[in-house]
């Protein structure tokens, strides 16, 4: 009821941007069901990262944000929080996992002590150095060329096989001589968009890449730069996970790049982008399965989503599932942080106080995700949060194919090159390489966004 359109007037159709009349329940142009347009979420307060508590006003004021609501939509005054007492909540009102962003600035800690502190608080996903669910030995080197060296192979007819270099590739994508499947476009993907870059790789153990990403940069209404990255991980136990991740990442990316220049608040835009991605994945369930897919999967296509928006002064993250965002400050003497909390069974058990961390993560269900995009999802709970870092750094947006090999914020920071903010593509390759060196058991995808967003045209090549 609270999501009826008359309570949440929308000036343009979220699907096709056709102008709407007040009271419209469906878009007159594309038929989009406006009743699903949500009321603006209860925005989480902006949090200052790694720095002193903010003053009453924003520290930087280049962006002319829409006027903040002064009531919670039900006639009550909007709650007021001091940044120090509220480290940030997601759009569902749940507390964020990491306390580091709001920690008052303090002298750099000894690494050992800091590590001990990290272990003592918050939700973590500690894993053994050698995950016990992968009993097989390290794989043989891949016969396809190293991703960094090769442009994505087209896999079309007439090409020479990359495996045997003797046969030609048939129209089904297999070598006419040795039968080997040719690298597909999604086996290794790289993209740079202004100052943002992302790399995705099939990994060493999976036969296809079920991850997908989208990156982009745009300008806010005042001309200030904004960068966007979305990373999705297809759920393998569902059908067509690769289609799900691709549809979700595209829909969310397009939604953000459409909404931000119109002046939508980045956190609202992120919330809307997750809903748009959800619609895109749900729509796949109605389509017939591709002929190739003969596996007896019954579940509707599904995937996780994690995204980040970076402006000159703001960092907004959003997620559903167990893909993550890490904050790695340029000054490595200051602590890094994980900014997302997994929708995983273990995290939920710990958060609900039903199990200790040790008990929860010892359970075989520990890493089962409890939130995802897809028609089979019980109830979509998009999490969003916004932060105001007080120093430059880089935002790492990744799937578990990477964080399995750099789980803690400290480990992720150590794996991230020092010049990540100025060489994001190179650094994303380095991070993917880190995962492949660790075994590459899963698809690996990482996007890097420098903070603050550099002025347009200032991105590294």
């Amino acid at each position: 009821m609270s999501q009826m359109p008359q309570q949440a007037p929308v000036s343009k159709c979220p699907s096709c941007e056709e102008p709407l009349e007040p009271g419209d329940r469906f878009c007159g142009a594309c038929g989009y069901d406006l009743s699903v347009v949500p009321a603006p979420p209860e925005d989480s307060p902006t949090v200052v990262m790694n720095g002193a508590a903010p003053g009453p006003g924003p520290a930087r004021d280049e962006v002319d944000w829409p006027t903040a609501r002064d009531s919670d939509g039900q006639g009550r005054p909007a709650p007021v929080h001091a940044a120090a007492e509220l480290p940030g909540t997601d759009s569902g009102g749940s507390p964020l996992p990491s306390q580091e962003p709001s920690a008052p600035e303090e002298p750099a800690r000894e690494p050992g002590r800091e590590s001990a502190q990290e272990h003592s608080s918050g939700v973590r996903l500690d894993r053994p150095a050698e995950p016990d669910e992968y009993p097989l030995q390290a794989p043989a080197p891949r016969s396809s060329p190293e991703p960094a060296a090769a442009a994505p192979a087209a896999g079309a007819g007439g090409k020479v096989c990359v495996a045997c270099r003797a046969g030609r590739v048939d129209r089904d994508g297999y070598c006419e001589n040795c039968g080997h499947a040719q690298p597909r476009e999604r086996d290794h993907m790289e993209q740079e968009s202004g100052p943002v870059a992302a790399v995705s790789d099939r990994g060493l153990r999976h036969h296809r890449n079920e991850d997908a990403f989208s990156v982009g940069c745009t300008a806010l209404p005042d001309g200030a730069p904004a960068t966007v990255a979305i990373v999705c991980d297809g759920v393998s136990s569902a059908t067509r996970p690769d289609d799900a991740s691709l549809a979700a990442s595209r829909a969310a990316g397009e939604s953000l790049l459409g909404a931000l220049p119109r002046g939508t608040h980045p956190q609202q835009a992120m919330h809307d982008a997750i809903l748009a991605a959800s619609h895109a994945v749900n729509a796949l369930a109605a389509e017939p399965a591709t002929a190739r897919e003969q596996a007896p999967h019954q579940n509707a296509p599904a995937c996780t989503l994690v995204g980040a928006v970076v402006t000159a002064g703001l960092l907004v993250v959003g997620w559903v599932g167990d893909s993550r965002v890490y904050w790695v400050p340029a000054d490595r003497a200051t602590p890094p942080a994980r900014l997302t909390e997994d929708d995983s069974w273990a995290a939920q058990m710990v958060a609900a106080g039903l199990m200790s961390e040790a008990e929860a993560y010892a359970d075989e269900r520990a890493h089962a995700i409890t939130g995802w995009l897809g028609a089979d999802a019980y109830e979509l709970e998009p999490h969003t949060a916004s932060f105001k870092p007080d120093r430059p750094g880089v935002v790492v947006v990744c799937t578990d194919g990477l964080w399995n090999y750099a789980e803690s914020a400290q480990e992720m920071a150590e794996a991230t090159p020092l010049d990540a903010a100025v060489r994001p593509l190179h650094s994303a390759r380095v991070l993917v390489g880190h995962a492949l060196d660790g075994g590459g058991h899963d698809n690996v995808t990482v996007a890097l966004l420098p903070f603050p967003a550099p002025p347009q045209g200032a991105g590294s090549a």
């Binding site: 891949r142 297999y174 039968g179 099939r202 060493l204 153990r205 003969q294």
Partner: protein, 452 residues
């Protein structure tokens, strides 16, 4: 002599489909890839095929066919005399089932082959008059002489080849052993006839050799069965002729392409009967071979393909085999029937994925073992190895029960007393009717399909 393309213009060619059932996931180091390839032909002789394959179809004409009826007239056919009479009646019933326009001939087989109708090295064209004359000619059939089946087949081949037709088929009836010809002589005749016409073979009574009759049907891609009671011949002949009249395209081959370094372990038909095809491969260009599938009407058959591929690393994927359907032409070209299926191999460290066996592959592996257990069990029984026979037939009872092959289970129960079907515990029956044992042996290769 044969002109495939010309024949197509006269025939209603069905539309073929190929479906592959397999678990493509292999563990690290895994090399053996198994798949069930289902070939289905539909729409022959209907408007549907004219739409689907207009280039192969001329409206208003059924498939052109020539049929030879080969009737055993050896001396034993008179003992009892009802056998010859029933054979005559059955042949008449088959003639009545001939469609107008089908070329046909009736051959009497003894130690030599004689044309009964129409004679002079010709084929008759079926119509009301020729059917009547052929039946009149059957009165001249009389028993006397020996049995040399190879001579019958060679005459059938000569006669059938005089017509330019799409389908060539023979129906062969015998009641005794091929005593007046060496096994090599029959083998040579089968070799020379294979691929030139198809042949259903029937043994009447219980004095014939099961392996001879099933061997003829296998070599000539037809069916084999026993007609223990001669009174059942007419019905069986009618059904056989109806099936033959339903055939629309001949000489179909399964073309299997495999990548370099890959070995074809076996190719066998597994439904409706088990039929080994591995040794019948004809090379068809680089890394490809053709396996003969015979004539097709609207029907569906299953094939088990097993190939061994070179091991590849985890995460790798390769095409282990490509199955397509062709009609090889005498000039070396092929008519491609346009359907193909891909057998894949994907290496994974997901043990749950790589250790599961495709239900179709598991089912037909069991059905093939069932056929083999029956044959071995009956051979051991004949050789006097009671323990060995009991073990093999016990295994057969177990497999027939667990796979739901009720017909075979019923036949087994006439040869063994079943103590515990699930455990495969059986006792050989002290007294077994010869007809029951021969029926079990002849029909041991019949399979049931897995429920999809």
């Amino acid at each position: 002599m044969r002109s495939g393309m010309a024949n197509f213009s006269k025939s209603n060619v069905p539309q073929f489909a190929v479906d592959v059932y397999q678990n493509e996931y292999l563990p690290e180091g895994g090399r053996e890839v198994n798949a069930i390839v289902t070939v289905t032909a539909t729409g022959g002789g209907t408007v549907g095929s004219a739409v689907a394959a207009p280039h192969l179809y001329s409206p208003g004409q059924g498939p052109s066919a020539a049929v030879a009826l080969l009737v055993d007239c050896s001396g034993s056919m008179d003992y009892p005399p009802t056998k010859m009479r029933n054979a005559r009646d059955a042949t008449a019933a088959a003639i009545d089932t001939l469609r107008d326009g089908v070329h046909f001939t009736v051959v009497a087989g003894t130690h030599v082959a004689k044309e009964v109708y129409p004679g002079d090295g010709q084929l008759a064209v079926a119509d009301q008059t020729t059917r009547e004359r052929a039946k009149q000619a059957l009165r001249r059939l009389s028993a006397g002489g020996g049995t040399a089946i190879g001579t019958w087949l060679r005459l059938a081949d000569r006669l059938l080849s005089t017509a330019d037709v799409a389908i060539r088929h023979a129906i062969l009836l015998t009641d005794g052993r091929n005593e007046h010809e060496s096994p090599e002589g029959l083998g040579a005749a089968l070799d020379s006839c294979a691929g030139r016409f198809t042949c259903d073979a029937r043994g009447v009574g219980t004095d014939w050799e099961v392996k001879e009759v099933t061997g003829i049907a296998s070599a000539l891609l037809g069916t084999a069965d026993i007609v223990a009671d001669p009174a059942g011949l007419a019905g069986d002949f009618t059904r056989m002729m109806e099936t033959a009249m339903g055939k629309e395209v001949a000489d179909v081959a399964l073309r299997l392409w495999t990548p370099v370094g890959t070995t074809v372990r076996f190719v066998k038909q597994v439904a409706p009967t088990v039929e080994e095809l591995t040794g019948r491969r004809t090379e068809a260009g680089p890394r490809a071979g053709d396996y003969p599938l015979g004539s097709w009407g609207d029907e569906s058959r299953d094939y088990h393909v097993c190939v061994e591929v070179p091991a590849a690393g985890l995460g790798q994927e390769m095409l282990a085999a490509r199955a397509s359907l062709v009609i090889p032409e005498p000039d070396g070209s092929v008519q491609n029937l346009g359907a193909q299926g891909l057998v894949r191999a994907v290496w994974t460290d997901d043990m749950a994925a790589s250790t599961s066996i495709d239900p179709q592959v598991a089912h037909y592996t069991g059905q093939a073992e069932l056929a083999q257990a029956i044959q071995q069990g009956l051979d051991l029984r004949k050789a006097g190895d009671i323990d060995g026979a009991t073990a093999k037939l016990g295994r057969a009872v177990q497999l027939a029960g667990s796979s739901g092959n009720a017909d075979t289970a019923k036949l087994l129960s006439k040869v063994v007393d079943v103590v515990d079907a699930a455990a495969g515990t059986v006792r050989l029956k002290a007294k077994v009717e010869e007809a029951d044992e021969m029926t079990l042996e002849t029909r041991s290769t019949k399979t049931v399909r897995v429920k999809k």
